[in-house]
């Protein structure tokens, strides 16, 4: 007789298992909070905001203060960045140029929110509308009454002085663009109604954190409205906005910005290869090499939603005709057109560490560098710090033309007999030497100076015979996903997590449970309590800055 209870038992078992999984899943640790954040906009954020608000046709020319990489990320350095006199001069010039473009024909027709019937006459309603509309988007919150009045007054007086209302609007807009309220992303706090005597981020600061993390730009109108309504202080409202932002194509820009920072791609601005030694690797190839890796990453973790670790073994990528010349592939796509491409199984190309971008960026202008590549893998992908070389290092045996050592492995082996050098080279070279089949431009080769290249290596105890082994070893190394979690949260918060931080451990645990999906990790951070938890900073006079904050907010009327 058929046991009719069996399906119910199965169902009950499944429910129990699900409940158990939920119950066994570690809970988010109680947030400890971090001091309020203040960060200077990065160059990309500045450019993205201008394009989002005023359109992509607005040209942003000029030079930005030099960013400083801290603990592997420019985003962490941005937390300490300020604006030097030279940098302010540049911001001032950019502000004036952008404002002039916005208020000139043809842009003024759709960017000035009113008809300017008589350009010589001041129009108070139009000035107020213009300043408050763009001020809200640039300051990422509504302007206070005082902020608005100052700028409307500026427009009024400038109209009288110059006899041009549109030029006056331009000066009003420039004063927004050069303001620290625009150039710095500064947290605002408010009293937490759920916890007496405690404080929380105000809604606009939550909106900014969300938007800069997921889109690498300022909040859009819908997100600002959610902040205004108080929705971002509810878990449901927060999750709705996170889902909206994550469903947007703009998520790609946010993810690209993070990986560009993590992989040190800002150095592409100054990448140079010797055109005689590497004739195929010019400016266009460098540009496409960077783009290839960012496209591959975005496709892998966003469109395909795949395991992050597979980035180091994937053969799926994108290709242009220019890149094809460097990779020595026949690419039929029209010039400048990207097409999906998959390296065949017998290709030496596997994983993003086999891309031209990684290989060429971590090389010298005229030759490869196993040490630079080894350092890059250790520091960028495994979050390990490689000590600087000793001051009195002598490499003279390395480049001796009379030496029998022809390959980098032979030369480094001789050099590594120096005990002062051996310690570090032992942790970098066995990885970098496995990539020696790729020259300084990332092109494949079998020999160096006529001698076959030995590309065997070892990474944290995992040995391999050739270049493909690097990817497999990275794929299986637990430090790889742990490093990603660490870097992503540092990027999001601007603070390098402490060692053994329980919050990072929690994120790492869930990253594994989520199959190492970066989208899931982003969602978990963006919907967490920890990401928005703050501890009040102490004011210069010893009092709580928050108290002063309230006084200021009350005074300013928002």
């Amino acid at each position: 007789m058929r046991d009719w209870t069996r399906p119910f038992c199965k169902l009950a078992t499944l429910v129990l298992c699900a409940l158990c999984l939920t119950a066994c899943s570690p809970r988010e640790p109680d947030p400890t909070g971090a001091p309020p954040d203040i960060r200077r906009l990065t160059e990309n954020q500045y450019r993205n905001i201008i394009a989002d608000i005023f359109g992509g046709a607005i040209v942003v020319g000029g030079r930005f203060d030099t960013p400083v990489r801290t603990d592997g990320l420019l985003a962490v350095g941005a937390r300490n960045a300020t604006v030097t006199p030279g940098g302010l001069t540049q911001f001032d010039e950019m502000a004036r140029s952008i404002a002039e473009q916005v208020t000139s024909e043809p842009n003024r027709r759709f960017l000035i929110p009113c008809q300017v019937a008589d350009n010589a006459a001041y129009d108070d309603a139009c000035a107020r509308q213009f300043i408050e509309r763009f001020g809200r988007l640039l300051f990422r919150r509504p302007l206070s009454d005082a902020e608005s009045a100052t700028r409307v007054g500026l427009v009024r007086e400038t109209t009288a002085a110059l006899g041009s209302f549109t030029e006056a609007l331009s000066s009003g807009l420039a004063s927004l663009l050069v303001s620290p309220q625009f150039l710095f992303i500064a947290d605002g706090l408010e009293a937490d109604p759920q916890k007496p005597s405690s404080y929380r981020l105000d809604g606009f600061s939550i909106a900014s954190r969300l938007s800069f993390l997921l889109w690498n730009t300022a909040p859009d109108d819908a997100l600002l409205r959610a902040a205004e309504s108080g929705a971002l202080h509810t878990q449901t409202g927060l999750e709705q906005q996170v889902e909206r932002l994550m469903a947007s194509p703009r998520l790609t820009a946010g993810v690209r910005a993070f990986f560009s920072d993590m992989l040190g791609f800002s150095e592409f601005d100054f990448l140079e290869k010797d055109s005689i030694i590497y004739p195929a690797f010019g400016v266009a190839a460098a540009r496409d090499a960077k783009e290839q890796t960012l496209r591959t990453i975005a496709d892998h973790i966003l469109q395909q939603d795949r395991d992050y670790r597979d980035l180091f073994t994937t053969r799926r990528t994108f290709m242009t005709r220019t890149l094809g010349l460097v990779y020595r592939l026949q690419i039929q796509a029209p010039k400048g057109v990207w097409q999906p491409y998959e390296f065949p199984p017998d290709s030496p190309r596997m994983g993003i560490q086999g891309h031209l971008s990684f290989l060429a960026l971590n090389s010298h202008p005229g030759r490869s560098s196993p040490t630079l590549r080894g350092v890059a893998i250790r520091e960028m992908l495994l979050c390990q710090k490689v000590p600087a070389p000793p001051p009195d290092v002598d490499f003279s045996g390395f480049n001796d033309p009379d030496s029998p050592n022809k390959t980098a492995r032979q030369r480094l082996s001789a050099h590594s007999t120096d005990p002062a050098c051996a310690g570090c080279h032992r942790i970098t070279d066995p990885i970098g030497l496995a990539l020696e089949n790729f020259d300084g431009a990332g092109q494949f080769r079998l020999t160096e100076e006529g001698v076959p290249i030995d590309s065997s290596g070892v990474l944290d105890g995992i040995g391999f015979d050739d270049w493909n082994g690097v990817g497999t070893a990275l794929r299986g190394n637990p430090a790889v996903p742990a490093c990603l979690v660490n870097r992503l949260y540092a990027y999001a918060s601007g603070i390098t997590p402490a060692a053994r931080d329980p919050w990072i451990a929690y994120l790492g645990d869930h990253f594994a449970r989520d199959g190492f999906r970066v989208k899931a990790l982003l969602r978990r951070i963006a919907t967490s309590r920890t990401y928005y938890a703050v501890t009040p900073a102490e004011a210069a006079d010893g009092a709580s800055a928050v108290a002063a904050n309230f006084a200021a907010a009350d005074h300013e009327g928002y």
Binding site: E147, A160, A161
Partner: protein
């Protein structure tokens, strides 16, 4: 005639001034520090200011192959080998040998400790840390408020981060990389020809000042909203605002007539100069020469009183086309030639660097000013970050002064430091430029000993 500075212009007053449409003739006020000691003056009677500059190159010299060593300070510099190109300028140079940089047990961070210690007077505790303000900015703080640009920062490497001027780790000045952009910025619409008969304050400059005033009005409220640790970040921003206001104030006044000020033709944008140049030596030299021609005129036209020129970065990425090794790689990897006693290719780059310095001096020497040349009225510190790059040694790092500093210094001396801290050079420089400092530096780098041998 010296004229007192007008009161700072308020936003309201500025705009009222515009409404008046007044054409004013106000001489650019020169302060006492700017007056030279030899009494020479511009044709129109205004005294010639003394300007300060730095000229940096990476990787120093090969010891024993740049200048004949001396045991005592004395007149006469025997340049040789890598410094051969400077022989023709030795009368306008002072050379400083055997000055050291004691780090008090701190690490010698390769290619950074040297420039940081010599320019800030303090050794860094960690790599790339800039523990204090570099002396060029201390000088600019005193002298730069009366020129259109407080400082001019140029690098010939194509990378704006190759700049050795900073107020701290996170406030390094970004250098200009393109001669074309530099020219446009300098001699573009904001440039006022000092030799023009008429002067009308540009109302748009007045509006710009009003824009900054509007921003500044928010300072108080903004500062109340942030914690103490973040205030320094914003303080720096508002200091920058004030400096820009000062520069706009300068532009609202008629500059003194200046016969030396002649606008040079713009550099030709042939795809070699500037940001696309990279670090191939010929391209760097071409960029350097183009920059120097514009800079000399910027100085002659009193557009700035402080400038910094970087010929090559502290890791010197200079390279020759078709060669796989850069200057830096060669300095570590090239064998010493036992007969020559040097690394031939590394030395070649060192020599080219000194050739570029000689070119720089040539251009300044060819720029007439008053009864002499620009070199009479500048004080330039040329220096590097290592003495012998092969070992990253920072003892006996080469430093030189170029120019007569308005007659305040004697030239042509080889000064022997006998192991004294190199901060003596920085201290003396600041004193020559009129800063009221009697000691400078920290720990073993601290000194109160002026190098009196070169003072006029």
């Amino acid at each position: 005639m010296r004229m007192g500075r007008k009161h700072p212009v308020s936003r309201r007053n500025v705009l009222r001034g515009v409404l008046g449409g007044a054409a004013v003739s106000v001489g650019l006020p020169f302060l006492d520090w700017m007056l030279n000691d030899s009494g020479t003056a511009l044709a129109a009677g205004a005294p010639i200011p003394v300007r300060f500059g730095t000229w940096f190159w990476g990787l120093g010299h090969t010891p024993g192959h740049a200048v004949v060593g001396k045991t005592v300070t004395g007149h006469g510099i025997d340049f040789k080998g890598e410094c051969e190109a400077l022989v023709r300028h030795r009368g306008i140079i002072n050379y400083f040998g055997e000055f050291n940089m004691p780090l008090d047990g701190r690490s010698n961070y390769p290619h950074s400790s040297g420039w940081i210690a010599s320019r800030t007077g303090s050794a860094p505790d960690k790599d790339e840390e800039v523990p204090a303000t570099t002396y060029d900015l201390l000088i600019a703080d005193k002298t730069g408020a009366r020129t259109r640009l407080k400082t001019i920062d140029l690098t010939c490497t194509g990378n704006p981060s190759h700049s050795y001027s900073a107020r701290g780790t996170y406030t390094r000045t970004a250098a200009e990389v393109s001669p074309m952009a530099f020219y446009a910025r300098l001699f573009g619409p904001d440039f006022v020809d000092p030799n023009s008969a008429e002067f009308t304050p540009d109302p748009r400059i007045m509006v710009r000042r009003s824009v900054l005033s509007a921003v500044k009005e928010e300072r108080h409220q903004l500062m109340k909203r942030i914690g103490a640790s973040d205030r320094a970040q914003l303080d720096e921003y508002f200091t920058s605002i004030r400096e820009l206001e000062n520069q706009l104030d300068v532009q609202l006044q008629k500059p003194a007539p200046n016969e030396a000020c002649e606008i040079v033709p713009p550099p030709r944008d042939d795809g070699v100069l500037g940001s696309t140049a990279g670090v191939e030596i010929e391209k760097v030299e071409a960029t350097h020469e183009a920059f120097t021609r514009i800079l000399a005129m910027a100085v002659a036209c009193n557009q700035t009183s402080v400038f910094n020129m970087v010929f090559s970065d502290s890791f010197s990425g200079l390279r020759r086309a078709g060669e796989s090794l850069t200057h830096h790689s060669l300095s570590h990897e090239e064998r010493l030639d036992p007969e020559l006693g040097l690394q031939p290719q590394t030395s070649w780059f060192n020599k080219r660097s000194m050739g570029a310095l000689a070119t720089f001096i040539d251009i300044f020497a060819a720029t007439r000013e008053g009864d002499g040349t620009l070199l009479d009225n500048v004080l330039i510190i040329a220096g590097s970050e290592t003495s012998f790059a092969r070992t990253h040694s920072i003892d006996d790092v080469p430093f030189m002064t170029v120019g007569r500093a308005g007659g305040r210094i004697k030239t042509g001396y080889h000064v022997v430091g006998n192991g004294d801290p190199s901060t003596r050079i920085g201290l003396t420089t600041m004193q020559i430029m009129g800063l009221p400092v009697d000691s400078w530096g920290t720990r073993s780098l601290k000194t109160s000993k002026t190098i009196s041998d070169i003072l006029a």
